[in-house]
């Protein structure tokens, strides 16, 4: 289900808060859903809307908080989130990356991320880029000063290119990189061995035909 990540260019939305926890990313009342899609409208629900969100609400009718960054017209259609340290802390809910991806984010840039959130995000095709705090500060400043501020991320090259053409390099674990570049989730990885599995299954079926009874 993972969309491969190769090169991506998009509008940057700056979320200027440290320690954004997964409960803020997607509040607990939305966890009862039977889906992993459809969380986008409730992303950052308590900050984004002025009323209390409940599952199933039509969010287009709800009063929006005009001060919240994602509600500002200049950040409409943002696909890259700029964030502060320890982004994604708190509960282990995989609903947090599900909500970010469903909203349309492809990458998040921050000085640091919480562990479980980091793992969960890569499982869901969301690229997390860790850059030094001063660099992130600089990006926040440029983003505020430049309407329509965009960044271009090249995963193969491990670079973030700014509008002026200058590039920042980032580090990433080679295995995670390969998975993202190819769009491999864990299932995708296992399916690389599909012919091995098929061959095993054929031998197995011959040896233990009694496990394939249809009743």
């Amino acid at each position: 289900m993972m969309q491969p990540f190769t090169v991506h260019e998009g509008i940057v939305a700056p979320l200027d808060r440290a320690n954004v926890d997964t409960d803020a990313i997607i509040p607990k009342q939305f966890l009862k859903s039977v889906r992993r899609s459809g969380f986008g409208p409730y992303l950052f629900d308590e900050w984004r809307y002025l009323d209390r969100g409940e599952p199933g609400m039509d969010c287009s009718q709800r009063p929006k908080n005009p001060d919240f960054v994602l509600n500002q017209p200049r950040y409409a259609g943002a696909t890259i989130l700029l964030a502060r340290e320890n982004f994604g802390c708190g509960s282990s809910r995989e609903h947090a990356p599900w909500a970010l991806v469903d909203y349309g984010f492809r990458a998040i840039i921050a000085p640091s991320f919480a562990d479980i959130f980091y793992n969960n995000s890569f499982k869901n095709g969301l690229l997390l880029i860790t850059l030094p705090a001063e660099t992130v500060d600089q990006l926040f400043a440029e983003c505020a000063a430049t309407p329509g501020y965009r960044l271009k991320i090249d995963l193969a090259q491990q670079t973030v290119t700014k509008p002026d053409g200058s590039s920042l390099r980032f580090a990433i674990d080679p295995f995670r990189k390969e998975c993202l570049l190819n769009g491999w989730d864990e299932i995708g990885l296992t399916l690389r061995y599909a012919s091995e599995i098929r061959a095993f299954e054929a031998r197995y079926r011959e040896r233990y035909p009694f496990y394939f009874v249809k009743g």
Partner: protein, 470 residues
Amino acid sequence: MAGKTLYDKLWDAHLVRQDPDGTALIYIDRHLVHEVTSPQAFEGLRMAGRKPWRIDSVVATADHNVPTDPQESEIKDPVSREQVVTLDANIRAFGALAYFPYRDPRQGIVHVIGPETGAVLPGMTVVCGDSHTSTHGAFACLAHGIGTSEVEHVLATQCLVAKKSKNMRIWVDGALPEGVTAKDLILAIIGKIGTAGGTGHAIEFAGPAVAALSMEGRMTLCNMAIEAGARVGMVAADEKTIDYFADKPFAPKGALWEQAVAYWRTLTSDDDAHFDQEIHLDGRTLVPMVTWGTNPEQVTTIDSVVPDPESFSDPVKRAAAKRALEYMGLTPGTKISEIAVDQVFIGSCTNSRIEDLREAARVVQKLGRGKAENVKRVLVVPGSGQVKAQAEAEGLDRIFRAAGFEWRAPGCSMCLGMNPDQLQPGERCASTSNRNFEGRQGPGGRTHLVSPAMAAAAAIFGHFVDVRSL
């Protein structure tokens, strides 16, 4: 070369491939599916445009959320209803070997219906998005509980990514005395090795006392392996195991049956197999057990008292005991037999099979009177439609009803209170389920884990009693 353990044999038979670091792909024979942990897995498949690898490996039912009140005509809670309706839709869209939906005469707790229909057979690998999948190890299966992302993984690839566990054997000598059951045995084991005692291990239960257990008793034992920290609990196959499947709908027939039986007879640990850890118990010394705390390791015998937290030398255990007694509203030194109960729950995948219900009914019949005044409610919840029908054919429902017990429809019920069957805050329950965690049976509810006979006796007396004395 040393021989193989049962676990080694099952692992080897299903090993598709293994990386140098030990990460392996294990082929899965049977995938049990229920409404709570499957919706996001099916949705993931759909979003990725993937097809299930082998849909005839899937057996599905609705159990966690379903109401067990026979009067209730529909699922009132919208969240529960949506999960059940979503399962219906997913099975309709993707298919399955068998599906036992809400209100189907064969619907029931997933771990009861698997073996009962012969959909789970000796030697299989069995997975389910539920930690008590260890139950199926009773039939010499390699059975794992898995998470939702793994449910999707197994649907899509027929494999589970796993690393091999270590081997542990728990050997029980002698025979269990009258009034002492598989439930008491497993509680005694957990009391001895602790809730983390089996971590990283696949446990094989063995020895004369285990061999003497019925298949139902072996299921009770393996069911709670997870409460000892082991994802896998197993018992070797013997003639009892094989006989159990003789007339099951999904069991092989004719020549295939003969072939299967020949293989199943090999599903034992070799005499010279190596175990990383061995534990011995003497079955003859066991006594009916009652938990006093908020994890299954906090357990003692019916003839003793609520322990003093100060008696624990380990500071972590001492603090845990203190907290547990506070939550449970118990004072150290109180006789276990003096603890009064408000509700009794007989059911769950630990103890909801026909043998469990017979055991409870026998106690009720022997005592010849109804539930105690102080006991507000006694729920008897059969594990499946088939168990319910069998119990009714034997007249067990009449015995329970005559004693003022409620005879319910199958489901998980008050094992976890996801449906309307819940304890009120502060209420105390004698329960045949497997987890006495805080709030498990309802917010603020207090759970004491016991055997079906002990639960039935507590219902009649209004407090715990030693069933050996009846």
